[in-house]
């Protein structure tokens, strides 16, 4: 995508098409997580006490730290696009690398969270000694949804890192001219979506 494809009559139009395509795709992604949030709402209405108890069990410190990390990474991504608009390629590459680094840290922290849960005997699907010890209450929906939602989100983070890495590589090689920043813009848009979804996951599973 480093030049004008011959079916577009202007670079502006091509950039517009690429951005619109990404926005529509993000709409599709939102609906995926909307389904998960709907499930959360339905099960929380059914088991309010268990959900409140589940939130108390979640690893608040790590979760909140992760929120901060994602927010910072998103601002790096936004700044990278701004730097690219001013044709400062080196800074843009550095900022994009910082974004990816934040993403990796996020995944590491997420992994640590999971190990803490596993250590307590909490596994998805109501398997593990935690559930055996609390057989009288239904903690399964909370934890299964927790693993499903954060797992899918972590998958999106990983995909986001890969997309950013490819874009950074192409940018570093000089594949994008100053008029063709939309691939970078699109990659950061995707990253912002990943961030946005976490902004909803965080209160639902860590705070409320």
């Amino acid at each position: 995508m480093n030049e004008l494809a011959d079916h577009f009559d202007s670079p502006e139009r091509q950039a517009h098409a690429a951005r619109l395509g990404m926005w529509v795709f993000l709409g599709s992604e939102l609906l995926l997580f909307a389904g998960l949030f709907t499930l959360y709402g339905a099960y929380r209405a059914k088991f309010p006490a268990e959900f409140a108890e589940g939130v108390r069990h979640s690893t608040k410190l790590l979760g909140s730290l992760n929120t901060a990390i994602l927010l910072v990474s998103s601002s790096f991504a936004a700044l990278a696009v701004e730097q690219l608009r001013r044709a400062r390629r080196g800074r843009a590459v550095a900022l994009l690398l910082a974004t990816q680094a934040c993403g990796v840290v996020f995944l590491v922290l997420k992994f640590m969270e999971y190990s803490e849960h596993f250590a307590l005997g909490i596994y998805p699907g109501g398997q593990g000694r935690f559930f055996a010890a609390h057989a009288s209450a239904h903690f399964e929906p909370f934890w299964t949804l927790y693993f499903l939602t954060t797992g899918l989100h972590a998958l999106h983070v990983a995909v986001g890192i890969l997309v950013l890495a490819f874009t950074t590589l192409a940018l570093g090689r000089g594949s994008f001219g100053p008029k063709f920043i939309h691939p970078v813009h699109n990659a950061t848009l995707y990253w912002h979506l990943v961030d946005l979804i976490w902004i909803f996951v965080w209160p639902l599973y860590y705070l409320a």
Binding site: A17, S28, L32, T38, P124, G125, E140, P141
Partner: protein, 551 residues
């Protein structure tokens, strides 16, 4: 229609390396027209496969007891019939084959916005479809195409491979939808404003919105079922506090709008065919556009009518009942608009119009039976019986498949530059319509009599109606084969059609038939409206309708 490749293949013996070139030219093409044709071939194969399953199912029902297959095979057959027809044929058929071919032509573009993505979508579709077919080899799936939990979490059949296949096909659906939305937004020729878009393009636009917004929810529900089957996550398992009805909500949130993914493009075809063969502007262009968008929107609010007896609260059930009626109102507006488009027209009666006539009758009947099943006390009796089976086949076969056939005949000269035989086409259309009615009308009565669906064997008093339905299915199949034969013959030997045999004003007919590689030698101005039949074009001599009957 694998014969598509044949004219070029004829030179193969003399120059073997050309095969590879030809394969690359077609299989790696980014030309929206060729991708459309590839999709057409692939979806038609899916139709043939799903149709074969259907014929086997009908033969099984010739007698009340076991006829040709065991109960286990029967369960796999109806599941695969549903899966193949819904995801491999009905959902992609019109949007991917005809949409890919025609939308750029109808908006004056040389390509879709993302040609490489378009090719990728096609191969994702093929990969997903292959996965589903492999799953059949791995023992098949016996849950029905709705995969209701908890049966699907414990079913001793190939649940995971099949669902992975459908999951993959879902990606193709989403990417195709994104591509069309962006194409229609950004690729229109200068003078083609929104309210001048051809109605088929509007229909594809509405369809794409549903595809993009509904399919991820299907992906989520399938993912949860897979995790449940493979790792026993049990999110809907009642023993672990789960609620199996929640799965049904998620599933129908996708699968009801999916009905409109199937029928909206069909309606778009009907709008085009009616206007072209009446040589008159649609009675109300705006009514059709708003009804299209209305259906796309309201379609998202009606899913609960699949669950009136599933254990929902009566309040929810009532609300879904009322909302379901709204869809019928939009559809009624369209039907009346099509009818009054015919009024004062200059009607050329050709095969596509005959199919549209069948569509009008079958779709209105099927649609009004839809109002009937949304009438809640009636649905209690009909739910999960053959009445519902008949109802949705009236919409999907009587509606979507009939419109698909109309589209096939209508745009056949556009794609091939040849004319098919009207005599064979009309005979096939008549056979298809009569065969369809004979197949599915008895099923309404079977439902009334109380025969549940997905029954391997049935009480002997239902035999007569079942036999009638099976005989009808043979008539329907022979009609489809005749139509295929007519078109294949025309593809090889049909007389040249000229650029615009139907005298249509619509934008796609303003270039050569078949169109040149980049669609237009020069993009036309499109100043004359797509439905302006008030004046003859200067180069058109007055045309005798009877004179163009091919020999």
């Amino acid at each position: 229609m694998t014969t598509t490749f044949e004219p070029e293949l004829r030179v193969v013996p003399s120059a073997p390396p050309r095969v590879r070139d030809l394969a690359r030219e077609w299989l790696l093409t980014r030309d929206h027209k060729r991708i459309g044709i590839l999709y057409f071939v692939a979806t038609s194969l899916a139709l043939a496969l799903g149709g074969t399953f259907a014929l086997l199912l009908r033969i099984e029902h010739l007698t009340p007891g076991p006829t040709i297959v065991s109960p286990a095979t029967y369960d796999r057959l109806f599941t695969l019939h549903g899966v193949t027809m819904v995801w491999l044929f009905l959902i992609p058929s019109i949007p991917t084959a005809f949409g890919n071919y025609l939308v750029p032509l109808q908006i004056g573009a040389r390509e879709v916005a993302f040609p490489r993505l378009n090719l990728l979508s096609f191969w994702i579709y093929v990969f997903g479809a292959a996965f589903v077919l492999c799953a059949m080899g791995l023992g098949g799936l016996d849950t029905g195409w709705t995969f209701y939990v908890p049966y699907s979490s414990s079913s001793p059949s190939a649940v995971v491979p099949t669902l992975v296949g459908i999951f993959i096909v879902g990606w193709s659906t989403i990417l195709t939808g994104v591509n069309f939305i962006v194409t229609i937004h950004t690729m229109r020729a200068r003078s083609v404003s929104w309210m001048r878009l051809p109605l088929f393009t509007w229909a594809i636009y509405g369809t794409s919105i549903i595809q993009v917004l509904a399919t991820p929810v299907l992906g989520l529900s399938l993912l949860i079922v897979m995790l449940d089957h493979a790792f026993s996550w049990g999110l809907f398992d009642a023993a672990r506090g789960g609620d199996p009805v929640l799965y049904q909500h998620l599933f129908w949130f996708y699968s009801h709008p999916a009905v409109y993914i199937m029928i909206l493009p069909a309606m778009g075809v009907v709008s085009e065919v009616v206007s072209t063969f009446a040589h008159k502007n649609p009675h109300s262009y705006r009514a059709i556009v708003y009804a299209t968008l209305g259906i796309a929107f309201v379609g998202f609010l009606t899913w609960g009518h699949h669950m009136f007896v599933a254990g929902m609260s009566v309040f929810d059930a009532g609300a879904f009942g009322v909302l379901s009626m709204l869809v019928a109102v939009f559809s009624a507006i369209k039907v009346f608009t099509w009818l009054s488009t015919l009024r004062n027209g200059s009607i050329m009666l050709k095969t596509p119009l005959l199919y549209v006539f069948a569509f009008l009758f079958l779709f209105v009947f099927g649609g009004m039976s839809g109002v009937a099943v949304a009438t809640m006390s009636l649905d209690v009796h009909w739910h999960d019986t053959y009445f519902v089976v008949a109802h949705f086949h009236f919409i999907m076969v009587g509606g979507a498949l009939t419109a698909w056939l109309a589209a096939l005949h209508y745009w056949f000269p556009k794609v091939t530059g040849r004319l098919y035989s009207e005599r064979v086409g009309m005979l096939a259309a008549a056979l298809v319509s009569v065969g369809f009615f004979a197949t599915f009308f008895p099923q309404f009565l079977l439902g009334n009599a109380g025969m549940p669906r997905r029954y391997y064997a049935y009480p002997p008093e239902f035999t007569a109606l079942n036999v009638a339905s099976t005989l009808g299915s043979w008539l329907l199949a022979s009609g489809l084969l005749l139509a295929l034969f007519g078109l294949a013959h025309a593809f090889l030997f049909g007389p040249p059609s000229g650029d615009n045999p139907w005298r249509s004003r619509c934008f796609e007919w303003r270039t050569a038939s078949p169109p040149p590689a980049h669609d237009f030698e020069q993009v036309p101005s499109f100043e004359l409206d797509a439905y302006d039949y008030t004046t003859p074009w200067p180069e058109e001599p007055p045309l005798e309708s009877s004179a163009e009957e091919p020999s």
